[in-house]
């Protein structure tokens, strides 16, 4: 028998309980720290997006720089379903997820045999294709203005219907989605599928030689990640009550990469969550002080990549390890050169 103490992976961890508790009480304290309810909505949506993105970047080691496309397709899908079909939350979200899944499945079929820099460049190219379509197909997408006045339908549970018009109830709905995504992804990364995609990141050749279908694993990971981005995009269209091409642009795609890396997605499940939080708080706090907040955030990003590529979560893990008086056993994040090896 192998030591069982190391063998347990609880379905609900202490970190989850802390995160959920903080987020569930957010409406009580958010105003007292000088922030506002809608920020909670926005941050939580991007946390969902970044968690899904990290499945690709942190767990599979596949650097996608065009992930905004699937977020945007989700947003447009939700908007078009509300405006074109009928006003229903579930229909909207299903269309958002289905659209992003389909687009992700097609793109993944073209990029899954690549890795490193080639994967990154192809993902940018495909992302730009979707962005240009969103920009130019006026009749469907409304061009640069996007889709406006998208309704925010009520949460229809069959036995009861809850209005999501005010940001507080909407926030709790999004938080519910966040909890589901966290629980599901936590299971996924510890399942055989999750362990194999991490093995592929570490050593693709060996994974192939022990008989795993590397291409299919990469494809499926990409599709799942795109589906989650689509879900987040649908929620974002609800939040903004509009969908516009900007979220699909290269720089918006870059934001989710930065969040994930700053937060420490390479070494921690929670990296993207921390990263999304830091990004939006930085936007609001730095943004209140200076118009050039992105410059300062960019400098922070560069400093982190140079001095602490494990990100905030990695720094935290090391600090805890030091506090407990032992050297950290935390895994190192890959250096850029490793990530982009052919």
């Amino acid at each position: 028998m192998v030591k069982a103490s190391r063998a347990d992976v609880p379905s609900v961890t202490r970190e989850m309980l802390i995160a959920f508790a903080l987020l569930f009480t957010l409406p009580l304290w958010v105003k007292h720290v000088g922030l506002y309810q809608y920020l909670g909505v926005e941050v939580t949506i991007w946390m969902i997006y970044a968690l899904g993105f990290n499945l690709l970047l942190g767990y599979s080691g596949l650097p996608s720089f065009g992930h905004g496309a699937y977020f945007g397709i989700g947003a447009y899908g939700f908007g078009l379903a509300q405006l074109g079909l009928f006003e229903n939350l579930w229909v909207g979200l299903v269309v958002a997820i289905a659209g992003a899944t389909l687009a992700g499945a097609i793109v993944a079929a073209f990029v899954s045999h690549r890795r490193g820099i080639y994967f990154a460049l192809l993902s940018i190219a495909f992302g730009q294709v979707f962005w240009v379509i969103a920009l130019k197909w006026h009749r469907l997408t409304g061009g640069e203005d996007g889709l406006l006045n998208i309704p925010r339908p009520a949460l229809d549970l069959g036995f009861a219907s809850v209005s999501l018009k005010d940001n507080q109830s909407f926030y709790f709905f999004i938080l519910g989605v966040f909890v589901v995504i966290v629980l599901a992804l936590w299971r996924l990364v510890h399942s055989p599928f999750g362990r194999i995609i991490q093995a592929i990141r570490q050593n693709e050749t060996r994974a192939r030689f022990v008989g795993h279908n590397v291409w299919l694993y990469k494809w499926l990971t990409f599709v799942i990640s795109a589906a989650i981005a689509g879900l987040a995009g649908g929620l974002f269209a609800m939040a903004q009550q509009s969908a516009y091409p900007d979220v699909m642009s290269l720089h918006a795609s870059g934001f989710v990469v930065m969040m994930t890396i700053v937060g420490g997605g390479f070494v921690s499940f929670w990296g993207p969550v921390v990263g999304a939080l830091v990004f939006f708080v930085a936007r609001d706090v730095l943004g209140a002080a200076t118009e050039t907040w992105l410059l300062w955030y960019g400098l922070l990003f560069m400093a982190l990549v140079i001095f602490k590529p494990e990100g905030i979560a990695g720094a935290w893990q090391q600090a805890v390890a030091r506090w407990r008086g032992r050297m950290p056993a935390a895994p190192k994040a890959p250096r850029p050169a490793q990530l982009f090896r052919k």
Binding site: R6, A7, V9, S191
Partner: protein
């Protein structure tokens, strides 16, 4: 009939011919050796046999089935495993997780996204059994990257054994090992020989002559001699080559 047979293999990279004409057969329940000086084409030969490269000409037959040009994952599933000369491990995983990834159960359950791997005590026990086989019992949860070199070599073999292969290829298993660890590796091969059919590529002749039932010598991209260690010692070609120092 031989378990594994390669006929008239030819492989070139650009205008450089690496394998001229290789015909070679490996019998079941034997330890077969492949040796030759550096640059003779040993590793290329190995890579063609295990599906890493496609041969330009020739066929590879395993258990009566033509497997020429099949992708490595298919060849692996048919029961051929290999270890690598340059360590090829999952370095961020613990030792036992490396073995787990190689288990057939993981292939079968690879698209299970719900149940934690570590909760599967049958698979964990299987992996621990494989580790014990190569002498790594007690080091299950050591990080693969932090194991001493000899243990990493043993783990390298354990990952290949995890798939329960019918045929195990070992690519230069002694490379980088000191005298002590080489001796330990020889013991390991002796222990495994009753259960596995093995093919070992080596340039360490003492190691190979002590273990192999038959040996094929590759030089200039072709098999220049084949036979038992004793036959090879008497072979004119082998004596004249740099391998002759065995006498």
């Amino acid at each position: 009939m031989a378990l594994f047979e390669a006929r008239h293999l030819h492989k070139r990279f650009g205008d450089q011919v690496v394998l001229e004409e290789i015909s070679i057969a490996f019998e079941e329940h034997r330890v077969s050796g492949v040796m030759g000086p550096n640059g003779a084409g040993k590793t290329t030969c190995f890579n063609v046999l295990t599906g890493h490269y496609k041969p330009d000409r020739g066929t590879v037959v395993f258990d009566g089935e033509d497997i020429t040009g099949l992708p490595p994952r298919i060849i692996a599933r048919k029961g051929i495993s290999r270890s690598f000369q340059i360590m090829n491990l999952f370095n961020e995983y613990s030792a036992i997780e490396n073995v787990l990834i190689g288990l057939p159960e993981m292939r079968a359950r690879g698209f299970d996204m719900v149940h934690p791997v570590r909760g599967d005590s049958a698979a964990m026990d299987r992996a621990a059994t494989v580790m014990a086989k190569v002498g790594l019992a007690g080091k299950e949860w050591d990080a693969a990257a932090s194991l001493p070199y000899g243990d990493r070599r043993a783990l390298e073999i354990a990952v290949a054994l995890a798939a329960e292969p019918r045929l195990l290829f070992l690519d230069e298993p002694t490379s980088g090992l000191g005298a002590d660890t080489t001796a330990r590796l020889a013991e390991l091969v002796q222990e495994l020989r009753s259960a596995y059919t093995m093919v070992i590529i080596e340039h360490d002749m003492r190691f190979l002559f002590g273990l192999a039932d038959t040996i094929a010598v590759i030089q200039w991209g072709q098999v220049i001699a084949q036979g038992s260690p004793d036959e090879l010692r008497a072979n004119n070609w082998v004596q004249r080559s740099n391998l002759g120092m065995l006498r």
